[in-house]
Amino acid sequence: MSIQARSLTADPQRADVGRLRLPGDPGSRLTDSRGAGRVGRVLSAALLAAWFVVPLVPLALWAFADRWSFPAVLPSVWGTDGLESAIAQGAVPAFWRSLALGLVVAAIATPLGAAAARALTMGMVPWPRAVGLVLLAPIALPPFAAVMGLNVVLLRAYVPPLAGLVLVLVVIALPYTTFAMRVAYAAHDIGFEEEARTLGASPWTVLWRVHIPLVAPALARAAFLAFLVGWSDYIVTVIIGGGTVVSLPLVIASSAAGIGNDSAVAILSLTAILPPLALLLLLGLAGRRGAASRRSRPDPDPIDPRTARSRLHEPGAAR
């Protein structure tokens, strides 16, 4: 194979992976596909996008279909029968219950996972491998098995169903929050906190003004994953809740198990999809804004520990 001059990049900054490349940009990577390879790449991307999107299409069509008899490709009568039926099945209180459950699980599992991840990353824990395994174990065990056994224990200890449910969901969420925070703390520079302490900040001030702001994006990611656990759980709510906690998935299940209420199922399903999607969008936008503000800050804020530290590291700066 021949190496063409235009395929070598002179400026290492241009070799960014995620940057959008436009035709006419100087330099083109050797790994870029051309001709038939390029067509194949675009085609495979389109196929994969279809694979992920197509299963959700019937939901969108059924949601506002009042009548859709069999051979028709599109609904024959549009309307809001499904919406009314979903509300009659208790969708609204179930929505709030599920939202509260997700938020409570996130509010508990995120700080627990963050504290454990910090201690594990900083090497402050005796038997770190065993502790790490215990915190990852819930992902490797079938939840229904643990919950069936635990049901007996909780009943004999007179733990109210709601408390037991939150406890189990928090434990199921812990692997996600711990893992997300371990990744974050592995890249976290403890020096910022040390310098704030050196400059006279109290431990609480350091925690709220330096430590938490620095790991905030990871905390948001961890909280999002924990929210998903509480929001989408079905089997734990059925077994531990014993029918006293009717969350959105329970309403969807009883509706989907019946026959003939397809439009109600579609409305309920869309209701269950939208809140996590909105949170994901918020997370993405916040991450993008954070990255943008870090890149384009003309005048470094002297109080910002990030710039303060980088100044200390400038050649000639006294430490």
Binding site: R41, P55, A272
Partner: protein, 292 residues
């Protein structure tokens, strides 16, 4: 937090001690209680040590009572989990390759697969049902009559169940593999290309070895999840033979008093299979080139 500015005393060089223990205990204690208590109670119940009524008697009755149905359920569960994991791993790997290619197509696939991960499995099951059932969207689009359409939902081959797991979990595999690839793949791939490696050789000798650890870990998680998940098989499957979780929950809800220990026995069997699969995945991980 006492980060006193004494020389040589930094948290990075933190030693195991009371502070660290206190920081992990609030997470470790509930985890140990739920896992240890739950699995322990399930084992005790399945051996007749926690009867709802009657004397405590150590026996294997709960395991032998379902001797006929249990092997069939194990086979069905393993089959569904294997098929779902295989499809999810292949599609997820392909999606990860497209995502790290970094073009706009890759970015769209990344966004869509991230959105797919957030969809609850129960909703996925309802959607797949509306797509693949004999009155679903797919036979309508293809113009096939309901009688001529194969029984994908509730049929003998569990097609709809496998399709739902493969769909949702391929998005999970894609995100995990793309996440581990994104940091280092560009330089390795470019170097291999510069040294004259073609497309297939780069896939075989660069991409696959780089992806393998993440692929093994995420596939093991998918397999164990599929094995222990209830709602999809319950909604889209058939009533006999049953996968393990469906069988366990039917026995659990049964009004017969001997059924609870039998449900616990099914739960213990499922747990044992899950642990065996995780152990196998660890062994496979040790054999990959990148394992330290």
């Amino acid at each position: 937090m006492s980060l006193a500015p004494l020389p040589g005393r930094t948290v990075r060089a933190g030693r195991p001690g009371l502070r660290g223990t206190l920081l992990v205990l609030p997470a470790v204690v509930p985890a140990l209680f739920v896992l240890g208590g739950g699995i322990g109670a399930a084992v005790a119940q399945s051996l007749g040590l926690l009867p709802l009524i009657g004397p405590v008697r150590l026996s294997l009755d709960a395991y032998t009572a379902q001797a006929g149905a249990l092997p069939v359920s194990i086979a069905v569960s393993l089959g569904i989990a294997t098929a779902s994991t295989a499809i999810a791993a292949v599609v997820g790997f392909a999606a990860a390759l497209v995502i790290v290619s970094g073009r706009w197509g890759g970015r769209i696939v990344a966004i869509i697969s991230a959105a797919t991960v957030t969809v609850p499995h129960l909703v996925g099951a309802a959607a797949i049902g509306l797509l693949l059932a004999d009155s679903g969207l797919l036979p309508r689009l293809l113009g096939i009559d309901a009688d001529a359409w194969p029984r994908l939902v509730g049929g003998p081959w569990w097609v709809a169940v496998v399709a739902e797991y493969a769909w949702k979990e391929s998005a999970f595999v894609a995100l995990v593999v793309a996440g581990t690839l994104a940091t280092r793949v560009a330089s390795f791939d470019e170097t291999a290309a510069l040294l004259g490696a073609g497309r297939l050789k780069r896939l075989r000798f660069v991409m696959v070895p780089l992806c393998l650890p993440a692929l093994v870990v995420s596939s093991a998680i998918v397999f164990v999840y599929t094995l222990g998940s209830y709602e999809v098989a319950w909604l889209l499957g058939r009533s006999y033979p049953e996968p393990l979780p469906v069988m366990a929950l039917r026995l659990f809800d049964s009004i017969t008093l001997t059924a609870r220990p039998e449900a616990a026995a099914v739960a213990v069997v499922t747990t044992a299979i899950s642990l065996a699969v995780v152990a196998l995945a660890f062994l496979a991980l040790r054999r990959t080139a990148l394992w330290r």
